[in-house]
Amino acid sequence: MKQNLRGLSAWCIAAAVLASPYASAQEQPGLTPTSIRIGSFGALTGPGYLYGKLAMNGVEVVFDQVNAAGGINGRKLEFIREDDRCDPAGAIGAAQKLIYQDQVFALIGGGCSNATFAAREVIEKAAVPFLVVSSVHDGITTPPAPTIFSTALTSTIESKAQVEYAIESKAKKIAVVSMRDSWGRARYTPLMDELKAKGITVVADEEMSPDANDATAQVLRLKQTDADAVIMVLFPKPAAVFARDAQKLGYKPLLIGQTGIGDPAAFEDQVGIPGATAKFRTISMVKYTPNDPEMEKWRKLVEAKFPGDRLSVFNLFGIGSAQVLVEALKRAGPDLTREKLVAALASIHDFPVDVFGAPITCTQADHRCNKAPAWLAKDPSGPVKVLSITRVE
């Protein structure tokens, strides 16, 4: 009755009342003598949840470990998640809520590319330190924002690595199959630019939908051009459908993947046809796959904290990134400010992180801290092996 109307205005007024004390409380938002509040936004719902929710699970596991050991300079880490639904408006709203309502000290996260890119302006304006975990959009880190750093392999880095690999493998005719969404395009454009820069013309440029169940058309078109290397800018499902249909139609080129298909063992399982992934090579942001014995300790932690889940590469993205943030927080010292955290992040040089391919290095000029794609492959009846770890400049 009257409650409905009163309720509506009450929300507005209550929100206002609640918001004001926060603003005047501390000079450094999100900091108390015993805690540091870290926020994260990414997709918790919708198809992007792999790069959001699962990555955040990894971050949380690392934070738990740190807290169990006493925290950082006496402060425990408090972790707040927000959903952006892989939508630019959602990301802007989530970032604003974390910054202005929840008053976080710093941010770690970022899943879907367009969403994180849209939120960049908000974060930059508020000068909040932000470490990107999974978003690959080049525009997030180029031109560099003073407080935004990334441990994700950005699209340009991966595309360069893919082209280099194709050239090294002496492929004569290169074809590209890509997804048309924002993730796919974020990779496709630098890929085409890099190919052009190297003077290579692709013999075929096909598209697949993220939900495609049949790739006969694409495989036949590629087969007609005799392409011997196919660069796949695809998520595992369309890539698996492609690999399966290629095998079915007797087309066996070199299949070059990327971080989206970061686990060759899982991929082999998804394709389903024995032997179809024999010539599949892929890049990963992290140099281990979940089944690696080295990852046992993380597996135990993740599967204990999130019962029912299995360790996945997405968890590992978060795990790696969180360790970098923790190190920077440690280096910034007990007298913590946002500026000091930013300076600490920029000073990270050759810092080894167990999951990443090479030690992490950020510089003042370049905030892309991970430039070491790891090349992985799996023989049909063998384990996953790391072929090489490239260093891209």
């Binding site: 949840y49 096909e206 598209e207 697949m208 049949d214 058309a217 595992p236 899982a266 389903g272 997405f314």
Partner: protein
């Protein structure tokens, strides 16, 4: 010619998956006049149920099949009893939104239960995974199994609606609910049975399709929209129309991809639909179907 036959086959294989979804939609619509916008999510959820039984707990394949169908039926019955009790009296937008809401609930639940297990879960095929040669063409046996399954479902339900008492009761309710009440039919029971059956079909479809499409919480929508298109193309009330519509959508996709360019594949079925509905506003097949009395 070989290109054409491969594309045709490719189109048929994806078309069968759409037909399976469309069949579930048509069965529910034939009995209640409602289009269940959650059909794709039911399909997805039952697929995960089958995965849990067979892959996670290692039980026998037929048990997984049974679990999917029974689980689907139960899910349909429960949602009808809990949520759709009084749906008959609601306007169309409300109906649509209620089933959409159900879809969200299923998707969110599936994501919470199974989302952390991997990005796309694989489900073993009922047949061997190796492609086989039939004549000069290679096919994957599971695709044949899916086609066979779709035909079996279609024939079984055609017989059900035509010959059994329950089937006739369901058709009567869809035709005119008020009149059905007058002759003593309990509409609530019919609705429950209809939702249960539609969901059970989604379960059967999922087990057939999962090896080909992989399992992930968001797979429902893409299947629903193509299945819905297929069902409407076939006339929304016709089981054979659903199958033909599904195959048609798949073939159009494949042909457009093969002959024009792969970037047309996503949009070709929708262009087809817009065209068809302008020319025949009630779907292709209903042009040739008089109403069964």
């Amino acid at each position: 010619m070989l290109l054409f036959s491969y594309l045709l086959l490719g189109g048929l294989t994806s078309g069968v998956l759409y037909a399976l979804v469309a069949l579930g939609l048509v069965v529910v619509n034939k009995s209640t006049g409602i289009v269940n916008f959650a059909q794709g999510e039911l399909f997805m959820f039952c697929g995960f149920l089958a995965w849990t039984v067979h892959v996670q707990f290692g039980l026998a394949y037929p048990l997984a099949f049974l679990a999917a169908i029974a689980g689907g039926f139960l899910l349909g019955v429960v949602t009808d009893r809990v949520a759709f009790r009084s749906l008959a009296k609601t306007d169309v937008v409300g109906l649509v939104l209620a089933t959409v809401g159900l879809g969200f609930v299923l998707r969110g639940t599936a994501r919470m239960i199974w989302g952390g297990k991997g990005d796309y879960l694989s489900f073993p095929p009922i047949t061997s995974p190796e492609p086989v040669m039939i004549g000069t063409i290679m096919i994957i046996p599971q695709q044949m199994a899916a086609l066979a399954g779709a035909l079996v479902i279609m024939l079984a339900f055609a017989a059900f609606f035509k010959f059994t008492r329950a089937g006739k009761i369901m058709r009567a309710t869809a035709d005119n609910a008020k009149a059905s009440t007058l002759v003593g039919i309990s509409i609530q029971n019919v609705y429950t049975l209809a939702f249960g059956t539609g969901a059970a079909i989604a379960g059967a479809a999922a087990v057939l399709a999962a090896p080909l499409s992989l399992l992930y919480p968001d797979m429902g929508f893409a299947f629903f929209i193509k299945g819905f298109a297929a069902a409407v193309l076939g006339g929304l009330n016709s089981l054979s129309g659903a199958v033909v519509g599904g195959l048609l959508v798949g073939i159009v996709e494949s042909m457009a991809g093969g002959y024009i360019h792969s970037n047309m594949m996503e949009v070709a079925p929708f262009l087809l639909i817009m065209l068809v509905l302008i020319v025949c506003p009630t779907g292709i097949l209903s042009l040739y179907k008089a109403r069964d009395v």
